[in-house]
Amino acid sequence: MSTSHMNERMHQYLDEELTGAELEEFESHITTCADCQSELKELDSAMHQFAQTDWVKAPAGFTENLMEQLNAMHPPKRNWRVPIMKYTGVAAAVLLVFGLGVSITAPEKFALQADNTQGLVVADNKVIVPAGTEYNGDLVIQNGDVEVRGKVNGNVTTLNGRVYRMAGADISGETEEVDQAAEKVAYYAKRLWHDLAK
């Protein structure tokens, strides 16, 4: 393989480092010199082919496996866990309650109201809709945050909590953050959950 008299310039050109007179000079040289022309073409097409290679992605379950490994190597000090809720085929609305003695009328506790929990990652005070997943239905989170990275075909509501839209988030319905006094939240909770129940 030969490299031409202008090789150095060519790479500067590819790095977009030539400006003004240098750039003009190079470009006009290229139009007249066949050697340089074919060399530039080869470089260009090689890098184009290279940049076009498939963007391979980490295998499914990568994060879960890693976190499991991490928990085995460094047992959590607090009771941090990343439970992956796998309730499949739940047709009716399911009320998932975390903590003791929680009900709709105890608005200080974290709770998640959802049609199902398929694909959701639920942890202390937080619900995650993972990237690449699609959730069908409404989500109501009380006293906790929700982080949306995937798709939600429905409404997302937090009562005393935040809705985080991460890159790739796609929420088809309404997003609402109700941040109010306890009575107000209880009211909203009742209303929304009543709506969801029927």
């Binding site: 393989m1 790479h11 790095d15 090689a46 391979v56 990568f62 994060t63 941090w80």
Partner: protein
């Protein structure tokens, strides 16, 4: 995005595992892809990505926010890849004879033990040619061109990841380009 990431890193540094899991989610494909292109097969790519995150976790307290988190995590992963490539190179020269007898080339040896769905994709002719050309590059050039052309990093970012001056990155990219040009021209003839 950037601000969000800083907050997630801070939470992770305080021991919030869920925050760390979010960082893993954000970077798993990037590190896996880097490992895949550097090492040439899915199994090693997964190993490297995993190891990089486990190291990052152990050293989270050493990360300081004056650098971008992405630079830091890429640096860990790139160093692991380069180390592994050097070890592999040493072991290849040891069993080169065995390879010769069995008649298998390096490519089939690398990818045949574990054919995942990603590997199927690689088997198209062009993909394979490109991967062969990448694998013919010395590790330092390889890292530089992969970070630039596949991970869209600026020369400065690459310099930060590899901990070398920008001028060195330029030289590596120039040589990497020439080698890819030679490799791909030769292969497609």
């Amino acid at each position: 995005m950037e601000l969000m990431e800083i907050r997630i890193v801070k939470r992770a540094q305080k021991g919030d595992r869920l925050a760390f899991a979010e960082l893993v989610e954000l970077y798993k494909d990037k590190l896996y892809n880097l490992g895949y292109r550097m090492l040439g097969n899915p199994q090693e790519a997964e190993d490297i990505a995993q190891e990089a995150f486990l190291r990052a976790y152990k050293n989270l307290d050493k990360y300081n926010a004056s650098h971008k988190f992405s630079t830091w995590i890429y640096r860990i992963a790139t160093n692991l890849c380069i180390d592994r490539m050097r070890k592999k190179k040493a072991s290849y020269s040891l069993d080169a004879e065995v390879d010769g007898i069995e008649g298998g080339d390096m490519y089939t040896r690398l990818s045949s033990p574990d054919l995942g769905p990603e590997d199927e994709v690689m088997r198209t002719e062009t993909q394979r040619e490109v991967q062969d050309a990448i694998e013919a590059l010395p590790e330092n050039y390889r890292a530089a061109v992969i970070l630039k052309y596949l991970h869209d990093m600026s020369l400065q970012e690459i310099a930060d990841v590899l901990e070398v001056p920008v001028s060195t990155v330029k030289t590596r990219i120039h040589r990497g380009r020439e080698a890819l040009r030679a490799g791909l021209r030769h292969q497609s003839r």
